[in-house]
């Protein structure tokens, strides 16, 4: 899949974003990064950003950045480039999770679908991948929701559908799967993918993932004075402010523009 904004935004760490946000340079803001793309690329390439002790970007990431600029700053993949199964998976996921903006990031959906597929194969066997998982993706919206759900429940393979739906929700909400005893199992995906920070639970809770805050202080003008405060002193809003993620984060509610 081509490099898009959602590829790049994961390359900036929470540390990078938080430090720069305070100075008015929001690296998690698509518009800002588009407007400053060449300057950012230059600094990343010459190693002056991020400075020691933080690691330089590896060359493949710098190449990705260049490719993104050359491609005209795509926000997300074109529809024709998204696999049909991913599109179906996104639809089912939006229905089950209650978040209607998962379609903005098909790359994350692809990763979660790949992990879910591997998990189904590991726990239920390869036949369940081409069988129940595929049936679920193909048919989840084939009729009135209640009737569809009842059909799945009455099916002799109901426990498998039940298992898959739970696993799907677990990976979207928490970035991980549970074992048979109710404990998280395996890992949260590749550390470079940073899937821990993508869990929907953080958005549901109006919070930032632990270890991943991207905002710190705010300055508030009171008359001639500026009063500074830390974001955790105030209550957060549904659009990201004071969540620790800033108001350019992917949101609990889709902001109406």
């Amino acid at each position: 899949m081509a490099v898009t904004w959602h590829t790049l935004r994961r390359y900036f760490t929470g540390i990078d974003i938080a430090a720069m946000r305070e100075l008015g340079h929001p690296l998690d803001d698509y518009q800002y990064v588009v407007q400053n793309a060449n300057a950012l690329l230059k600094r990343l390439a010459d190693g002056s950003m991020p400075p020691p002790p933080f690691k330089r970007w590896p060359q493949n990431r710098i190449d990705d950045f260049q490719e993104w600029i050359d491609a005209g700053f795509p926000y997300m993949p074109k529809e024709k480039d998204i696999a049909h199964r991913v599109t179906r998976f996104i639809g089912l996921s939006e229905y089950l999770t209650g978040f209607d903006n998962l379609r903005e990031d098909p790359q994350l959906a692809t990763k979660f679908l790949d992990r879910l597929t591997a998990r189904v194969e590991e726990k239920l066997g390869i036949a369940a991948v081409s069988g129940e998982l595929k049936t679920l993706l193909d048919n989840w919206d084939d009729g009135e929701p209640k009737d569809v759900a009842l059909n799945f429940l009455r099916h002799e393979k109901a426990p498998i559908y039940y298992w898959i739906i739970k696993a799907l929700l677990h990976v979207w909400y928490t970035g991980s799967f549970l074992n048979d005893f109710g404990f998280p199992e395996g890992d949260n995906g590749n550390p470079d993918d940073n899937q821990w920070t993508d869990g929907l639970m953080w958005r549901a809770g109006l919070a930032h993932p632990t270890g991943y805050s991207t905002e710190a202080s705010y300055g508030e003008k009171i008359g001639e004075q500026t009063r500074h405060y830390d974001y955790w002193e105030r209550s957060p809003d549904k659009y990201g402010k004071h969540t620790g993620l800033g108001d350019t984060a992917r949101l609990f509610e889709t902001k109406q523009v």
Partner: protein
Amino acid sequence: MGSDDKTNISRRGFHRLAASAAASAASASVVAAAENPVDHRRSQAQRDAPYDVVIVGAGCAGALTAAVLARTGFRVCVLEAGKSVRHPADHVGTFYADNEKIPESPWPADKRADRPRVLDMAFNFNVSENGELTSDWLRKKHYLIQHGHKVENKSDESYLPFNSTYERIGGGTLNHWLGTCLRFTPNDFNLKSAYAANAPTASEFFKNAADWPIGYNDLEQWYCKAEDEVGVAGDSEGYKNYLGASRSQPYPMPPIPLSYLDKQFKDKIGKKKIIDRQLNVIATPQARNSVDRDGRPKCQGNSSCVPICPIQAKYDATVHLNQAKAAGAVIQFQSVAYRVEVDEKDNNRISRILYKRWADGEPVKEKEEVTAKFYILASNAMETAKLLLISPWKKSENTASNYTCVANSSGQVGKNLMDHIVYLAWGVAAEPVYPYRGPLSTAGIGDFRDGPNGIIDEDRKMRAAYRIHIANDSWNWPVPPTQNLANVVNKLIDERIVNLLDDSVATDKILPEDKTKILEKLNITQRDRLLTKSMMHQGGEYDSNVTEPFGKRLKSYLHDSMIRHVRVGAELEALPLEDSKVMVSDQVRLDGSFADVPSIEKDALGIPKPQVQYRISEYTKKGFAEAAETLDSILRMMGVQTVHAKSAPSESEIAAQPDGPPPRYLPSINSVSPAVFTYGSKKYEYSGAGHIMGTYRMGSNPEESVCDQDCRSWDHENLYLLGSGVFPSSGTANPTLTIMALALRAADKISTELKP
């Protein structure tokens, strides 16, 4: 394209991030290499030693002492058992990827410098590979051998699991500490004379209690220095004479601001009373930058202080380790000390330390040695005690091992093992508190620690004191979010399935027996449904007949629940008990050899493993029971309907109230912890604070203590023992700041002696 101003991004923004690396360089530049001092009172061996000081352990005491002594110009060598640790930014990816999110998650582990893990204590404790409990299996699997009742399958609770862990890496356990920097109260130093001596009926509690050989005023200036060295952010006004503890200096930084959640607590419970005691919510002093300081940035509220602050706004001991290195100290990682040797002809001075050095892809160097004028053992209270216990000094007929170990003429080494056990309580508040934002804890309640202004607290004669903390990280400690959320998701799916089936029966789409069959097939039991119902009650108004689509219902429920999650905890004072102790095999020979003794259980390097026999005093248990009631009251004030506890309700309790009000207590999910004791008619589950204390206590009498008021061994004049192992009593504060104050005091003493 942006303007120059906009595009000149990295200069200012990353300047302060990069500064942590610069900090060590800065400190190096101010150090002038001093001429090696010569002490003519020392023996030839001492004078010829290549180092002035050898320090075992690169944790909070070792790193700070190394930095101070190296900055003064002394030749310092630090032996650290484990690997070096880089800037936390390099380790945070490991934290993200690790599902367990336990204190040990981000840090480099290696069997050659093994350590206990939180999960050893919790999940694996009583389950062997074949599902049975066998102490043999546990002894092989775990580094720390426990003799608690669950391990040995004893029915009595004489000995309990020790529920705290530690790190063996550069910077030690401070890599995953919270950062709380409370001072002890003046009465904490006088437990015996202030409380034990006047206790009306509880003298049995205090049988082994001791006063410290120093008082608060002796340590006050060193507290100030320690606060400056680590950088403590605190409320100087609020802590002015707090619980009788005077301050000669303000905190170096203003306090970390209270969280929105703290303010809700302050509004709801501030100035109220529990057990006739006024509650005051006060900002917690902490080693966390509230402003950019010493080359480290201000806190960004990552809410992951335990186990990692990604930006190093939280102090950790690598700060001083880097300073020590920059000042010329030799920091030798992957070097595991296994014997301290004594020269009896040289007035029983320590003559050398033997260690094993390991490296990936290379054979272990089995017998390395290092010599110095002074030796400092600065590992934690577990590892230092172990090292002493496997280091024979002289023959003895009175011990099982037939020898007296180094520094142990008092017989106290290894004994009096203490921890501040923790009671956790959590629930769903009536109003939103918005957790998971800001540092893990920014405020607490200290009113149960001691009497106001230092007056004697009559209650403390009868039960342990305790401090309450307010958590900003939701239920993360008892129930990690992945586990919590995934299980909530499961319950909501079950709820929706049951509703759908009820609806289908009502509209004649299926027969009632079809519903029963489907639920059986999915293994959704009546018990599950009742627990789900109870759980849903705490999420606000419960309407099981909701009609909104499943996903919207799930999202709104999780939102409504998560933003109201609260947790509080209480850390309990401990009492020293002689048979609560660190031990090693008694098969180590008088000459210190153990390699060819098969009955000794050894780690990957062939060094005897530490063993623990742990007890909790009745005094602490009594305090724990009161703390449980207090936290229950506090949560009620916050509007929590159902307090979570770790013991599951019985089937009969659940069956008794299918349609009644929600139960007051709910089980945590899948709790299998063996860390449970009985007090009165109730069972209580406790957590560990990671505060390992007491195993080489200081005192004013060599017959009853291991070291003197300066942390110097009574038996060996060139041996110092640092860390919370020297604490004669646990006090009511987390130990780190006191460890550091004592370390600075000892370093000053050593400096004086080393100067020509």
